[in-house]
């Protein structure tokens, strides 16, 4: 259990203080969430997609650390104006590079925001009951990671609670 001062970069700090594309989008075509409050990391992505399958508008909400807020914000910047096929191709490394100076322990924040974007894109096609050829059947690394983190923390949180309650002799 170590603690390091996180040498966040200037860009990350600027995005934390003044995030772009912040807020719930009431008229979103599709939205998706990755992470959970129990993880301490949760990102919601809202996309407005036009008939040409171009992302006209992208916004986010974030419950999490400064890196989480910054990577979510930059992800929305990066997918805005892109065709869904091109937006899908943006991976967590590009997000991390765009933030600059993202500490390695915070890579998972970038992964989570890409995971949320890709979940939203999948949801879009699911709703349309379509599946373009470029959309893989298997979950991408980012989607898988988001799912693993959610499940791991769920299990961990349950285990810790069960342990504490058992130790106290309580049944809940």
């Amino acid at each position: 259990m170590s603690r390091v001062p996180l040498p966040y970069g200037k860009r990350l700090l600027d995005l934390f203080r003044n995030p772009k594309n912040l807020g719930r989008m009431e008229d979103a075509t599709v939205s998706a969430v990755a992470g959970s409050p129990a993880c301490g990391d949760m990102i919601a992505i809202y996309l407005k997609i036009n008939n040409d399958e171009v992302i006209e508008k992208a916004t986010f909400e974030s419950y999490g650390c400064a890196a989480n807020i910054a990577t979510a914000s930059i992800s929305t910047e990066m997918v805005k104006g892109k065709k869904l096929e091109d937006a899908w191709k943006i991976g967590w490394k590009q997000v991390a590079d765009a933030v600059g100076d993202l500490p390695s322990v915070k890579f998972h924040c970038g992964i989570l925001s890409v995971g949320a974007v890709r979940r939203a894109i999948r949801e879009f096609y699911k709703k349309k009951d379509e599946k373009p050829s470029w959309l893989p059947d298997e979950l991408s690394l980012e989607e898988k990671h988001a799912l693993e983190e959610e499940e791991l923390v769920k299990a961990l949180s349950k285990r810790v609670r069960t342990f504490s309650e058992k130790a106290r002799g309580k049944k809940e």
């Binding site: 259990m1 170590s2 603690r3 390091v4 001062p5 040498p7 966040y8 970069g9 200037k10 700090l13 934390f16 203080r17 995030p19 912040l22 719930r24 969430v33 959970s36 409050p37 129990a38 993880c39 301490g40 990391d41 949760m42 990102i43 919601a44 909400e61 974030s62 419950y63 999490g64 650390c65 400064a66 989480n68 807020i69 100076d101 322990v105 983190e149 791991l152 923390v153 961990l156 949180s157 810790v160 609670r161 504490s164 309650e165 130790a167 106290r168 002799g169």
Partner: protein, 405 residues
């Protein structure tokens, strides 16, 4: 300095006010204490206390006197019972591992609680690897050790029980006297250690009244310099050294005694105990203002730990729901208020503070926790400023959050 850290620090330029409340993790050392230490670096008693010359004897005398003074503050009978060690961490390692190892002939079982500081908790892991059985006694929702569970885990194979006198995160003042009675009644030979780092200088302490055999003290927790702490070991109790080397006046810790730091620790103790009642009343007043007025100014808070006289006078620990602690420490830092959090994010882990989960906080509640400690130097103006900026910081982060409002 790396460029990015320079930028981070620069982002704080032009702060209206600064209030340091992260006394859990480190403290500033008041000038009075620094000034008391300075002569011992180069003018006075800088010799090695075990060597037979004037500067050595001066050092010997200085360390003896300091030990005696510190012994007096905790009601110990002799200077020899005070063993200086580099910090709370080392003293706790020595108390756990050194005591268990020295007494393993009597049994290989130790008992701690679920909310001990990491230096106790992790030392118990080392003992596990050395073949000891470790039992952890649970605590209730306010962090009080469940005494009724204690007697069932202590047996004739138990060599050591270790419970902190004051919890470092949530300020719970534990019923150590009662715990000692239960333990000794069950088996008189069990040794009892208490980490009193968060109690020393904040609540009255007497090793005889408590009935403990070992007690950890820390300089940095009372505004003294870091790098020095002590382990009180009752006369006749066996403890094995963890390190080997030249043994001087400190039988349990080899190496040349650090006289300037010992003087700093002593001076910090003197200042904490001088006007003790006034200092404690002052801290308690500021603590209660934060504890009562923060929830009055913002919704969705949970106080972690008890209220009133059973809480350390300096400790405030509040969970802000729908708000993540690491982001909150940064947001507050940018406003000049320095605190820490039990969030997993500040610890590079998925799991938040073990203390908060042990008192029944859900992960999402623990992630939003903020720990603040006040000192006798904080003012009402400091608290006003904190009360102003904390709600602003929490509101902004909640405004970003997707969790239900």
């Amino acid at each position: 300095m790396t460029k990015s850290v320079e930028d981070l620090i620069k982002a704080h330029d032009g702060l209206e006010k600064e209030v340091y409340l992260d006394l859990e993790n480190s403290s500033p050392v008041p000038n009075e204490i620094v000034e008391a230490m300075l002569p011992y670096f180069s003018e006075n008693a800088y010799g090695n206390p075990t060597v037979t010359h004037k500067l050595g004897w001066m050092a010997y005398e200085t360390i003896q006197k300091a030990s005696q003074r510190i012994a007096n503050y905790i009601g110990a009978s002799s200077a020899e019972e005070i063993n200086f060690a580099p910090s709370e961490t080392e003293a706790n390692n020595l108390a756990l591992i050194g005591t268990a190892q020295a007494n393993k002939g009597k049994g290989k079982r130790i008992v701690i609680s679920e909310i001990e500081p990491l230096s106790v908790d992790f030392s118990s892991n080392i003992l596990k690897r050395l073949g000891f059985q470790v039992s952890k006694v649970p605590v209730n929702g306010e962090g009080f050790i469940e005494l009724e569970k204690l007697s069932s885990v202590v047996d004739e194979k138990t060599v050591l029980v270790s419970f902190a006198l004051v919890n470092h995160e949530i300020g719970t003042i534990e019923p150590i006297k009662e715990a000692v009675e239960i333990v000794k009644k069950r088996h008189p030979e069990v040794l009892f250690h208490t980490d009193a780092s968060d109690a020393y200088g904040k609540i009255p302490i007497d090793v005889d009244k408590l009935g403990v055999d070992l007690m950890t003290l820390s300089s940095n927790k009372i505004l003294g310099p870091r790098g020095i702490g002590a382990l009180y070991v009752r006369d006749g109790v066996d403890v094995q050294r963890l390190l080997e080397g030249q043994i001087g006046t400190q039988k349990l810790w080899p190496g040349v005694e650090n006289t300037p730091l010992i003087i700093g620790f002593l001076k910090a103790s003197e200042l904490a105990f001088k006007d003790f009642d006034t200092n404690v009343a002052h801290m308690r007043r500021l603590r209660d203002r934060l504890m009562n007025e923060i929830p009055g100014r913002i919704t969705g808070t949970i106080l972690n730990g008890p209220r009133g006289t059973k809480r350390a006078p300096d400790n405030v620990n509040i969970s802000f729901l729908r708000c993540e602690g690491e982001a909150l420490t940064i947001e507050l830092s940018l406003k000049g208020v320095y605190v820490s959090s039990g969030s997993a994010c500040t610890r590079l882990l998925l799991q938040p503070s073990h203390v908060l989960t042990a008192i029944g906080r859900r992960f999402e509640e623990a992630h939003g926790s903020v720990l603040m400690k006040v000192t006798r130097y904080h003012t009402n103006e400091d608290i006003e400023y904190v009360l102003k900026v904390v709600p602003q910081a929490v509101e902004r982060l909640r405004g970003i959050s997707p969790t239900e409002r």
